[in-house]
């Protein structure tokens, strides 16, 4: 057996931490500076809160869309998180109670993790768009007259395509977490509960759920933070209006008018603040339990 390293964990973490702190810290500092209107290259050297003010008051090109983008982002990420957490729970409980098949189940769920979000989004688009594969098959099979009569499932105003994407991608991810916890659970608890007369529902409610909840909550938080701030999927599967906050942020960051950068950066920072706030709240809740 190797001798255990006696170095403090912080020292061994130092290289990784330094990298993260420097990279994230530097870009964060730049972001804050630009969101405050500091743009030396066009001679703007005074700090102002104009970008935040116009966003929060709903004025200006970015501000006009800010609240609807925030609402849309929340709608998509909250719905996708809740639905995929619920489905993951059902799936994992179902799989865990299945005799045998453990390795095969895990493999089936793992396979999903290897598909990048962008690839999956494009696949959904090719499959579900009105000129997509399903629409063509339906038209060829005589179910609908023209491919264009196919229901609008992606690039729709209500974010259904986005939610569908994230649910199909995050359910297996969360199911893996729950499944891992369930498999580490001694079967004894459920058997004792059954002996004491608990039915199937009671066993799920009072034995299984409390056991997997911390893991599921942590996983759901990860999913929420990711969905809320991810750019590529809404860029592929979203529409021009409403847009998610991440899309709005990049749009104004790349505006030819350099003064619009402050708006883009302010949107990004607000987005970051919301994710951090949600993380802090759930950590606190988790800690209180």
């Amino acid at each position: 057996m190797r001798r255990r390293l006696s170095l403090s964990p912080w020292l061994s973490l130092a290289p990784a931490l330094a990298l993260v702190v420097v990279l994230v810290g530097a870009s964060l500092a730049y972001g804050v500076a630009q969101s405050l209107g500091l743009m030396a290259v066009i001679g703007q050297n005074t700090v102002s809160l104009d970008a935040y003010r116009s966003l929060l008051s709903g004025h200006g090109p970015a501000g006009r869309e800010f609240w609807s983008a925030l609402g849309f982002s929340l709608w998509v990420s909250v719905t996708a998180t809740i639905v995929s957490a619920a489905l993951a729970l059902l799936l994992a409980v179902g799989l865990a109670s299945r005799p045998g098949g453990g390795a095969a189940d895990t493999l089936a769920l793992n396979w999903n993790l290897a598909v990048p979000h962008l690839v999956w989004a494009v696949a959904l688009l090719l499959f579900l768009a009105q000129s997509g594969l399903l629409a063509r098959l339906a038209a060829a099979g005589g179910l609908i007259e023209l491919p264009a009569e196919f229901p609008v499932l992606v690039r729709d105003r209500y974010g259904l395509g986005l939610i569908l994407h994230y649910v199909s991608k995050e359910t297996p991810f969360l199911a893996l977490i729950v499944l891992a916890m369930l498999r580490s659970q001694p079967t004894g608890y459920a058997q004792v509960a059954a002996n004491l007369g608990a039915n199937r529902w009671q066993r799920l409610r009072y034995v299984t759920l409390p056991f997997v909840m911390p893991g599921l909550l942590a996983g759901a938080l990860l999913v929420f933070a990711f969905v809320f701030s991810a750019y590529e999927v809404p860029a592929v599967l979203g529409v021009g209006y409403p847009r998610m906050l991440s899309v709005l942020a990049l749009r104004f960051f790349t505006d030819p008018d350099l003064r619009a950068r402050a708006d883009g950066m302010a949107v990004s920072l607000i987005l970051t603040a919301i994710v951090l706030a949600v993380a802090a709240a759930s950590l606190k809740r988790g800690g209180a339990k």
Partner: protein, 429 residues
């Protein structure tokens, strides 16, 4: 230890880049991808000195990379010619949007990086204005190129770029004009709408069969389509060449009224719009709509060559107010290989390449930057004539194009159209 280094090194680089924004330091230049002889070892008035300085250089050309056929055209035509004739290596850097190249130059300026990474940018309009405004362009060169003699610099459509004087900061590459594309197997030429008014009638008689590209980044043709409607409603382009807020306030309500009248008749009821030319073209190819938009002088020809549209696709224009313009190349002030960039900009104006760019099979599809009447060399004249005959029936007849041609608006209107379109048409406030 080795691993530790590989982690820390990038972090230090970032630190170096950050610190230099406050006080530009020579250390920052270590971050530059290429170092090269600085500007100054050539004299723009002595073209031979430019050629000599350029020999052996690699020119980093930042080009909008969204069209495979244009990328191929650049690699096949300019790459070998630069190498064989001038000993210059062409490094085409594809960007998703020209603004990315602009941002690169701006970031380099912020980080104090000189020489930078960009030698030449395919540019026009607002992006040109951004760089010119920030004083980040290499000045006073365009009319010093030997082939600049073929360019008609007196043409206001050419010496003004979205209303902003070109002022020798950029040299033209090609020209373009907005046109519509339809499939002649599905529609008769006689029933085509020939004005914005008849387009509205046509669209509402065929609900869901027309749409246009959302004006905005990447949706340049959509912006142009909307500006054409603005010209139509206000009685022409003359009022729009210089910016006046009052003119905008007078006419923009009528524009939004027109587009909102059109909206319920559009594809998907105007709930969403295609984001770029490729998306609209595939809607046409999929028979979801009956028209698409293009800027190509070859009309539908390039798309047909690439198998994106059926061979029966044809281009046409309204009788008036179809915006056309020139596009350019510009050299950033911190370009590492200015001499090579100059040689490339000159090569773009060479009559043989100007002729090649309008041939549909070559995949470029945009029009001449030069005035063909200024070309006297017999072989070049023959090449230009031969190219013109290859345009074929998928292109809009030159006389139709010329009759409908109007210049673009001042750049300020461009932003107003894009921003307000979102508010008054897309969101329908």
């Amino acid at each position: 230890m080795k691993r530790w280094h590989s982690l820390i090194a990038p972090a230090l680089l970032v630190l170096a880049a950050c610190s230099s924004s406050a006080t530009p330091s020579p250390a920052a230049t270590t971050a530059a991808p290429t170092t090269a002889p600085a500007a100054g070892d050539f004299d723009l008035d002595q073209w031979d000195s430019v050629l000599a300085a350029a020999r052996g250089q690699t020119v980093n050309w930042y080009v909008w990379g969204g069209s495979d056929s244009i990328n191929r055209f650049i690699d096949t035509f300019y790459g070998p010619a630069l190498q064989e004739r001038y000993g210059i290596t062409l490094n085409r850097v594809p960007v998703a949007d020209t603004v990315d190249a602009v941002n690169q130059v701006l970031s380099e300026k912020q980080a104090g990086t000189d020489p930078g990474a960009v030698d030449l940018i395919w540019i026009n309009g607002e992006n040109f204005y951004t760089l010119k405004q920030a004083d980040l362009l290499f000045p006073a060169w365009a009319q010093k190129l030997p082939n600049s003699r073929y360019v008609n610099w007196d043409n206001p459509a050419l010496n003004l770029d979205f209303g902003h004087p070109v002022d020798n900061y950029e040299s033209p590459w090609s020209s373009a004009q907005l046109q519509l594309v339809y499939d002649s197997a599905r529609l008769e030429a006689a029933e085509l709408p020939r004005s914005y008014t008849t387009l509205l009638e046509w669209a509402c008689a065929h609900p869901g069969r027309f749409t246009y590209i959302a004006p905005g980044p990447g949706g340049f043709l959509g912006t142009r389509f909307v500006k054409g409607a603005l010209y139509d409603l206000s009685g022409g382009s003359a009022a729009w060449l210089t910016f006046d807020q009052a003119t905008w306030d007078t006419w923009s309500p009528a524009l939004w009224a027109y587009l909102n009248e059109l909206k319920p008749c559009l594809w998907r009821g105007g709930e969403t719009y295609p984001q770029d030319e490729a998306e609209l073209r595939s809607l046409l190819a999929n028979q979801e709509v009956d028209f698409s938009l293009t800027n190509d002088i070859t009309g539908a020809g390039t798309a047909i060559e690439n198998g994106l549209l059926p061979a029966t696709a044809r281009a046409f224009v309204f009788d008036q107010n179809m915006i056309g313009d020139f596009n350019y190349v510009a050299i950033p002030a911190n370009a590492p290989h200015k001499a090579a960039a100059l040689v490339l900009a000159d090569l773009l104006l060479e009559p043989e390449f100007q002729a090649a760019q309008i041939v549909p099979a070559n995949g470029f599809g945009l029009g001449y930057a030069i005035d063909v009447n200024r070309v006297t060399d017999e072989a070049a004249v023959a090449a230009l004539l031969a190219a013109a005959t290859q345009l074929g029936e998928a292109a809009t007849p030159a006389s139709d194009l010329a009759r409908a041609l109007v210049g673009d608006t001042a750049a300020e209107y461009h932003t107003l159209v894009e921003q307000d379109w979102r508010v008054y048409v897309l969101q329908g406030e």
